[in-house]
Each structure stands twice: as C-alpha cells, then as structure tokens.
Symmetry: C2
Subunit: 227 residues, 2 copies
DNA sequence: ACCTGAACACCGTTCAAGT
DNA sequence: ACCTGAACACCGTTCAAGT
C-alpha cells in the first residue's frame, strides 16, 4: 500500500530537476564554499541525486559554470551619469561580480560568456562607447579590450584552486611575491625595474583600475584600426 | 653480492632528482601531451619515481607550473627596430610562448610570474616604454596593462581542460559560439550589438592584437595617473 | 524522456617508513 | 636530507539499467 491518502511523511516530495534549479543550487554552494567546491558531485549531492543526473541538463562542468556566470551577470547595472561615469560603473559592477566569486573570473576568460545577460553587458558597453563619440570600428574592438581587462584583473586577484580550505582566499599572496621580486631586483640585471620599483607598485587597486579604464578608453578613442 | 664489478646491467643508474630535471621533463610532457596531462603523478612517472618525491622540490602543482613558465619565458627576445617595433616584438614573442602552450597562459594570470626570466621581460617592457618618452608613473602602470593583455588574450584562445583528448585543442570553438551569439543578437534587446555585429567580429587576430597594443600604448602615454 | 547506481580512470597531497 | 609506497580524500564522465 504505497502512498496511502495521497501524502507521505517520509520525504518532502522531491521536485523535478531543472537547469534553473541546478544553477541556483550551484550559486549557493559557490557563495558558501567557493567555486572549487562546486563540483558536479557536490552539486548533485545538494540536489539529493547522483552526478549523472546533471548531465541531462549540462554537457560538462564548464557549461554549468557558464550558466552560473550568466546568471550572476544579470546583477550588473550602470549608475546614472555621463557616458564615462556610466561606463566606469557598469564595468565596476561587472568587476564586483567577478571579485565576489573569485575563480569564476578565471573561467570567464576561457568561457567567453554568451548568455543573454552577458550579451546585454556587451551591448551596454558598446552603446556607451558610441555615445562617447568613438568611431564604430574602434568602439567595436574596444568592447573586448575593456571587458577583457576587467576579467583578467579579477582573475589575477583570485587564487589558484587550493587544497587548503582554511587559508585566506587570497591571491594577495601572489601580489606579495611579486612585490618582493620587484623590490629585490638586481640593478645590473634589471636596471629599469630596480630604478622604478616603487613606481611599479604605486597606487591602490582602485586607483590603478580607474586609471586603466581611462587609459583604455583614451587609446580606443584615438587609435585608428588601420595602421 | 650486490653490484659486483662496480656496474650493473639491470638499471641505467638513475641520476638524482633536481628541480631543473623535473622542469625539463615537465616541459617535454606539456609539449607532447598538453598541460592538463602534466600532473604530479604523470611527471613523477616520467621521472621513474612516485609523486611524493616531487614535493621535495616544489610545494605544489602551481609552483611546478610557475617554474616551467619562467623557463619558457627565457626564449623571449625583441627584434631590432625602434622602441615601438621592439615592444611589439617582445610582446609578440611572449604571446608566442603562451599560444604554443595554451593553458599555461591561464596559469600565468594567477601565478604572476616572478622568476628571473619573467623579471627580465618586465624590465625590457618598462625600458622600452621609458625609451618611448612615456612618463615613468604611466610607464610603470602600463607594463602590467600590456603584459596582462597579452596573457589574457592567450588564455582566451586556450580551451578549458578537456576530457576528450582527440578533439581539436581549440578555444576556437568558444570563438564560434561567441560569433553565433553576436550575429543572432535581438535588435530590440541588444540594439548596438545587432547593429554592429560585423564590426565586432571584424579583423584577424593579428590585426586586432597589433591594434590593441597600439591603443594600449597610446592610452598609457596620454593618460595622467591623477584624474 | 528523465533519472540513477555503480564503475572507470583518474587527480593532489600527506605521512610513516626507509636509506 | 632525500626518497618512497601506500593511503586519504577526492575528481569528471560514462553506461547499462530502470521508471
């Protein structure tokens, strides 16, 4: 006599899987345990099923990560202001997403996000460059350059996948190593680095990021696509 | 009576391990089987030992990859010409290294190469920007921007680690997906992308790379570090 | 069509024990 | 000090079998 009376008390009626649910659960895991923990096996476990079940909805782990990233990109939005201020703010909010989930930036470089939210971001950035009066061929190539810069910067600040869970989630450690290497440069082997180590290390990340975007826009606006 | 006569025929007298030898063997594996095959276990096997032995010389897999990358950067060299031509050629030869061993570029973004050869590359790029008459604070920040661009571009063209060994080693596939997404953009949702899809996709990788470097240098040269 | 248990073929890293 | 076998704690993906 299975399931008498139309309800059973043993299980809370497991709903059917769906890509949306899988993505939502994966984001929860990334948020609480980090990207490296969001494995097919771990996600399947959270969904109370076996890893094989996920392959009905995604072809592989990369595709799952891509779906997650597009979902997160949905949160990016420009604040009001002139075109340059809006550009800085869309790129800034994209950077925030990538910095919040370090490791996803690494994926984003290779994944080339192409979901609906990513496309909207692409469209916003292109629109802002055109609004700034930049020639269309330059603006078109510039979009890639700007998004690549933000993505790469976030990826740099994310640490490689760690075995040790307790350690800080840094990438700041890598920065310290670089700092040490530049400060310790041999004036004979590396004269320029040795002479200008402090200039190389100057500025806060925010200052450097803002400068980089201004410099990129400046270069994009003034450099003809035909040499 | 072990080892009579001072020589034995059973084994070719296994030499002692060394970081140099480990790196050399790892490069061989990367060259023939790809980075994703160059695991601690696979490298140890090639060295006819167990994986634990490698941990005497490197702290983890990332450190092994970093040592390999620095070794490979040793091959970069500028060709003669004015400072801009030399800049394009050093960056080009660095790009060649990263494109030849796709996947190492992905590591390079996070690893922040700091070995002797990487430092030399850093020094060359900084020297060339200064030779071009660029203000030292801008040149110093610009080095990062230029190397980051090259590294990120190479990383983009490398595919994610694949289970399937027979498939093309592309990343070109990702580009095709992007192409399709841009061409198929909805004119209402993404008006700018839809209107300028061809401009977004225009140019060969080489043309875009050369333009990007000119644009970066232009932006670096003309953008004050203080807004 | 969707879902699953179990298996296949791997990983990085640690550790106690040897030389 | 250097090296090692064996183990610990995982992976992604596939496949035959079920519903």
């Amino acid at each position: 006599m299975p399931n008498p009376g139309g309800s059973r008390r043993d299980r809370p009626a497991k709903p059917a899987l769906s890509l949306q649910w899988i993505v939502a659960e994966t984001i929860k895991i990334i948020r609480t345990e980090g990207l490296e923990r969001a494995t097919m096996r771990r996600v399947a476990q959270a969904l109370d099923t076996g890893p094989a079940s996920l392959y009905v909805y995604v072809a592989n782990t990369a595709e799952l990560h891509a779906a997650v990233l597009d979902e997160l990109i949905g949160a990016t939005e420009p604040e009001p202001g002139d075109w340059m201020a809006r550009l800085q703010s869309v790129l800034g909010s994209y950077a925030d997403v990538l910095f919040t989930y370090p490791g996803l930036a690494r994926s984003a470089l290779v994944l080339r996000p192409t979901g609906p939210h990513a496309l909207r971001l692409y469209d916003q950035v292109l629109g802002l460059l055109l609004e700034g009066g930049i020639a269309v061929e330059r603006a078109a190539w510039g979009v890639d350059l700007l998004l690549q810069h933000v993505t790469a910067t976030a990826a740099e600040h994310s640490a490689p996948a760690r075995a040790d869970v307790d350690a800080p989630p840094d990438g700041a450690a890598q920065m310290d190593v670089l700092r040490g290497a530049l400060r310790g440069a041999d004036p004979v082997e590396n004269p320029h680095v040795a002479a200008h180590a402090e200039a190389l290390l100057a500025g806060t990340p925010a200052q450097r990021q803002a400068w980089a975007i201004r410099a990129l826009v400046q270069g994009i606006a003034t450099t003809p696509t035909q040499s």
